[in-house]
């Protein structure tokens, strides 16, 4: 069934490119949710059914929790935060959407190069997993840099986390539990805190536009003094 896994990974790759190109907040959130479901599915699909037999409870658990959190809980939380922060639906890019897509594509190809260089080995469940993971992480970070709103940065961060998750389920099925837990905890509390933060920021700054968030820094102090 590895082939299905690879189809899934290919779709995953696509979501990144689309994510880079999308201009609407809700759509972006939806895309991240989709990624979450895929992250949930991956462990099952990557499971070597033929000679490992049916996966144990742990794998199922991890898969389920992953899907539930990344695919359902977080998107809802994010939407809630977005509504609460009265963010309008535009993403307000610093880098244009077309250019973003090109860059995402570049990231993808670069990560395939890296994947090649990394002598991917039979211990890896899927040849594709690593490059896709790299791509997703790269896209996520890129989105954080390239979108203006605080909430979009959270979104980018989630994509980044998804990438790591893909990687984890790609290579570390045997002993990945702790790590998975780590991710969950991380993402959980993170979004929780981010939600509060965004709420606070919104209340204090009457906007979640992070351009308002660069008062601190040496240049600024310099000007104030001068």
């Amino acid at each position: 069934m590895t082939s299905t896994a690879e189809i899934l990974l290919a779709l995953f790759l696509l979501t990144n490119i689309v994510l880079a190109g999308t201009g609407r907040l809700r759509q972006a959130i939806r895309l991240v949710a989709v990624q979450g479901w895929m992250v949930g599915l991956l462990p099952i699909l990557l499971w070597n059914w033929t000679d490992a037999g049916a996966p144990g409870f742990r794998v199922w658990a991890v898969a389920f929790v992953n899907g539930a959190v990344k695919g359902v809980a977080l998107p809802i939380l994010l939407r809630y935060a977005a509504d609460r922060a009265k963010a309008n639906f535009e993403l307000e890019p610093l880098v244009g959407f077309r250019l973003s897509q090109v860059i995402a594509f570049a990231i993808a190809s670069a990560s395939f190069a890296i994947g090649k260089a990394l002598h991917i080995h039979e211990t890896v469940a899927s040849e594709l997993a690593i490059p896709v993971a790299f791509t997703t992480m790269g896209t996520g970070l890129f989105l954080i840099c390239a979108r203006r709103k605080a909430i979009t940065q959270v979104l980018g961060f989630l994509a980044f986390e998804n990438g790591i998750a893909v990687f984890g389920s790609g290579i570390l099925l045997e002993y990945g539990l702790v790590v998975e837990l780590g991710i969950l905890l991380d993402v959980f509390v993170l979004v929780f805190v981010l939600g509060i933060a965004i709420y606070q920021i919104n209340r204090t700054f009457s906007s979640i536009d992070t351009d308002r968030l660069n008062a601190l820094g040496d240049v600024h102090l310099m000007h104030r003094r001068g």
Binding site: V178, V193, L213, L221
Partner: protein, 421 residues
């Protein structure tokens, strides 16, 4: 070595926690009285502070690498609210940046952890040529990830904001304990790296160390905010610590210079080992003392602008003494243990590196002394509202410890051949 480091850091963190807890009792009450405004409840503050401490100790003592990662992540999550103790715009912005940058760092660290663990697995399977690359890439992400938390340039960008906006005891704890913990994480990973990529790892660490010292030096010059100044000095010292560690790792134990023995086997060169440990400990103590003093000054003057804090020698003598001595100590002027450790670095590093580091440290010294003198000497421009004397208890205690141990250390190193033990 890692064992010594671990227990040392556990004790150090606990000590600092106690010191900052005591200082908090005075500080936040005083801060609320003066600044008022919207702030988090004291109960939450103390809970977060304790959780912060717990997370750090957990990170130090965690048996496995993933657990350590979880703990380090926890430290981020519980320290973030502390930074935003005052719900001021600045504080919130600082918290936001801290949260986002550190989370990204942590994510990278997680990724690195995965890579390294996979590499370890491959190593067990005996796949030599494959796992080397995995290790390398893994270490890259570890260095970037935990380096973000350690405050290595250019990942340090959250540090000045967080340190300058947080309440003084929190800044002290961040700078004195948290940075060390995440450095410890790097050290742990470095230790398990296979020998053939050790060169790459040490080179990378040295580059980042020197870069950190340089960046700190650049940003200290014409600095106008004394808490930011201290923050950058933390960046500088983290750089020094990383350099020391890297050189320590690549210097074989030389019986001529004496070797550091832990748990029966020789773990490395004595000079460097002791220098490293001493530098970590005394940077933390001195920096804690300085941040607490800075906090008092902030309360007294209501501003972090150096320009408006002048003539402490006239207006607040005790703090003037704390400030000038503390800054002399952090710059590694004898009798400061940091002098001994920097000397250790200079005598063991290759010449070009010692020269470069000394030059950068000279810039740092020039910048810091300019500020220190500007604040302590001269005539007051603003009338401070002095803080209660009990807020000087902890800093002065720390100062006493520093001076005593410094004198001791200087006597030790000045005895020829004292290194051999």
């Amino acid at each position: 070595m890692i064992e010594n480091l671990k227990w040392l850091l556990v004790w150090l963190t606990s000590a600092l926690f106690v010191a900052d807890l005591v200082q908090s009792v005075f500080y936040i009450r005083e801060a609320d009285r003066r600044e008022g405004g919207d702030h988090m409840s004291h109960r939450t503050y103390y809970i977060c502070l304790s959780a912060f401490f717990g997370a750090m100790v957990f990170a130090l003592l965690s048996p496995s690498l993933p657990l350590m990662w979880v703990a380090v992540e926890l430290t981020t999550l519980v320290s973030a609210p502390l930074i935003a103790y005052h719900r001021s715009r600045g504080a919130l912005e600082a918290m936001w940046k801290y949260l986002l940058i550190c989370s990204i760092g942590i994510g990278l660290a997680l990724f690195g952890t995965m890579l390294v663990m996979h590499a370890l697995e491959l190593q067990e399977k005996g796949v030599a040529e494959g796992c080397r690359m995995w290790f390398k890439v893994g270490f890259v992400f570890i260095l970037a990830g935990y380096g973000t938390k350690t405050g290595l340039a250019p990942f340090h960008t959250w540090l000045p904001d967080a340190h300058s906006e947080a309440p003084a005891p929190v800044s002290a704890l961040l700078s004195g304990a948290l940075l060390n913990c995440s450095f410890f994480a790097i050290a742990r990973f470095r230790e398990i790296m296979p020998a053939e990529i050790a060169g790459f790892c040490d080179a990378a660490m040295i580059v980042f160390g020197i870069l950190s010292v340089a960046v700190a030096a650049v940003f200290m010059v014409r600095q106008t905010d004394f808490k930011r100044l201290l923050a950058y000095s933390s960046v500088e010292h983290m750089g020094l610590i990383v350099i020391l560690f890297a050189i320590f790792m690549r210097t074989p134990a030389d019986p001529g210079r004496g070797a550091l023995i832990s748990g029966g086997e020789i773990v490395g060169d004595a000079v460097l080992g002791l220098a490293l440990l001493a530098h970590i400990v005394f940077h933390s103590l001195t920096k804690t003392m300085l941040f607490q003093t800075a906090g008092n000054l902030l309360l007294a003057f209501g501003t972090r602008a150096i320009a408006s804090v002048q003539g402490l020698g006239v207006s607040m003598k005790g703090h003037a003494a704390l400030w000038i001595v503390g800054i002399l100590f952090i710059c590694g002027m004898p009798p400061s243990v940091l002098f001994a450790s920097e000397l250790g670095l200079v005598v063991s590093a290759p010449f070009w590196m010692s020269a470069l580091v000394l030059a950068l440290l000279f810039i740092v010294f020039a910048a810091m002394m300019k500020v220190a003198l500007a604040m302590t000497m001269g005539t007051p421009v603003a009338k401070p509202e002095p803080v209660p004397g009990k807020m000087m208890i902890v800093p002065f205690t720390l100062l006493a410890i520093l001076v005593a141990s410094g004198v001791l250390a200087c006597i030790c190193i000045s005895i020829p051949g004292a290194w051999h033990n």
